[in-house]
Symmetry: C3
Subunit: 305 residues, 3 copies
Amino acid sequence: MGLFKDLISIKDLTREEIDHVLVTADAMEPLAASGSDMLKGKILASLFFEPSTRTRLSFEAAMLKLGGSVISITEPRVSSVEKGENLADTIRVVENYADVIVLRHPLEGAARLAAEFSSVPIINAGSGAEEHPTQALLDLFTIFKNKGDIDGLNIALMGDLRYGRTVHSLAYALSNYAVNLYLVSPRLLRMRREIVEDISGKIKVEELEDVEEILPELDVLYVTRIQKERFPDLEEYEKVKGSYKVDLNLLSKAREDLILLHPLPRVGEIAPEVDSTRHAKYFQQTRFGLITRMAILALVLGAVD
Amino acid sequence: MGLFKDLISIKDLTREEIDHVLVTADAMEPLAASGSDMLKGKILASLFFEPSTRTRLSFEAAMLKLGGSVISITEPRVSSVEKGENLADTIRVVENYADVIVLRHPLEGAARLAAEFSSVPIINAGSGAEEHPTQALLDLFTIFKNKGDIDGLNIALMGDLRYGRTVHSLAYALSNYAVNLYLVSPRLLRMRREIVEDISGKIKVEELEDVEEILPELDVLYVTRIQKERFPDLEEYEKVKGSYKVDLNLLSKAREDLILLHPLPRVGEIAPEVDSTRHAKYFQQTRFGLITRMAILALVLGAVD
Amino acid sequence: MGLFKDLISIKDLTREEIDHVLVTADAMEPLAASGSDMLKGKILASLFFEPSTRTRLSFEAAMLKLGGSVISITEPRVSSVEKGENLADTIRVVENYADVIVLRHPLEGAARLAAEFSSVPIINAGSGAEEHPTQALLDLFTIFKNKGDIDGLNIALMGDLRYGRTVHSLAYALSNYAVNLYLVSPRLLRMRREIVEDISGKIKVEELEDVEEILPELDVLYVTRIQKERFPDLEEYEKVKGSYKVDLNLLSKAREDLILLHPLPRVGEIAPEVDSTRHAKYFQQTRFGLITRMAILALVLGAVD
């Protein structure tokens, strides 16, 4: 067994453990091109009880690039779950078919429960509204690769900070580093109080509604989708949405080396004209997602230390 | 080619052939941990025209553990079948892509028909209400591994014996051995007359409604789900369901070495408190399912004798 | 990189390039039986935004036979696409997970667009009503293998020539060879004017409504489905459908060495009694599809010259 058996919450990891994932990912990069036999004979079970094509493909590709293979449930409606089986039973069956389980589940705490019943490693690929630890790790890896270091950076998270699990996990992850964190959102979509309190004790956090105030200082701008459905009335939505859209005009006020990240899919938050600028790193982020997940799989399966 | 080309019905196998599968499975056990290249370059087509996540994953994992690979149809609604293609044509297409076909189909006789048209081996993964031969083989393997022998055992099948294809195939499989077979079910859900007649000629069979009468003698208790939908009126269902539930209280009357099996998923037939007892073997049964299917794949593909 | 980076339209290929695919496919045939490590470590992303089980399985099997592996989206409804992501973004994400992308899409031009955004090869597995280049190549390969040569043959395409993308791509492909092409269809389902004009400049083309006139001269009869839905009134449909059905009676007027092809699935256009005749090559065509796609994958990935 490597560094940790399961990966359930970013809050379970120390800074040393996170750094170790980043360093391991860095060493994986050449294997993403060449392929490897590191996990030959091992099987990943990919259990998606909620659709997330991108995350699923990323994990499956990571496993395959390391020479392992994949079985998957992507159709919860037609699985035993429909026959009323509980998650604990599903896990105790699937652990007999696989060497590691990647779980995506709509309910808070599902991954933690799974890990309690499973003798093989459980990797949380998103559960409830709170946790998406591998996304946070790949976000950190992208920052690390572009900036060389995470300490000392000015980082803004912008958009829907209330409902997006990505930014929740990322905020906790960043609180391990000496960063200045700016939380930019409409009032209605501010980050939950308990998270802000948790991380404020560790790093400098500032909440604001308009990114322009701090844009010239930023090293990293992390954008998320603002979903119309979150607003009680459409008028309110129409009023705010413009201020959370990144285009060339906005970027003209940013530092030359600002990097722009987004968990994708995007739906209008970043104008296509931005794609060809030096700021745009959201597709590279996808590539780093593959590499980070290769590292995580290798670590939980004990193929690297 | 190994022992047999296709595996359609447990009734097609002699005791010698069944024993050979069990011995082969025993030899496969270490390969489930380490992986193997035995079926490298071979492709399994997994055709599930009826959902059965557990069985599908089990076969796919078995193929992958032996170094083979997998293509699959799990979405009959969006396949050529929807365009009106008949099964014979589907098989004559898929046999060109794969080295072995695992077929699950709602209609009786589908697997037999497929085998007539296919030049590659067909393995029946459940068809109609009658046949599920690989489940019967893995049930036998679990009994064999726990008891060392099948001859001489007292075995009860309990629950819905009328509609469950699992218990039909298992009853036929057991009739090759010198066992005492007890069929425990509500009157409405008794095993079909023709099956009881078939096997009564070969082994001692007793039908009863209450397991407690024979529980102290049992070596194996095989439990299946009783589905509410099978009862014309709910009152009838409520009356019987309690008697077919296994809990610690019931087990206190059983032998210490009684083993408890279930094809899973369970929905209340076995209380969770039972899971941690020495009787509970239903999750181990899943593991033995993987191993038995590795053996079956290796046999039909001629990779072992 | 091999002969070409992407395969979008059969119209992009010269005769020399087509011939090169056929020769490469011929060399692949033994590998379909034995398997190979030619594409070990490489990943195919199979993106089907429109169901086509047969084509998907064929590509996936081709990749696996060459030692590569596969990730796939077969459920457009539950993918990011549902969240409103555009195709360009999807491609720029998936190219980071895979070494080659096979794309099936309901819209004309989708594959071309994908190729513009992708740094990894795009293979068009059907887009809109126009293009299905790999089907055309496997059709040519089947003719080539059965006849030894394509030049000089009398070839009829029969059935729905208006809506079937298969026959559109095939007509263009055949226009590179010295063939006599007969287009046999009901008036309502005649091939589109622009295609007939395009190919008439290069080869002899004749349109007719009844195959019997030219049947005795034919080397190849390529049959497609006539779908009831295409007819404004059912009476019209009932009138024509009989004339486009191939049975033993019709074939008694054909040459002994006529070969009969069909892209499958068929729904009544070819009577089952024909399957056992020497004319029937539509299941062999499926096998040659696997082999042709192995060649195409090896070519775009530069594993063969």
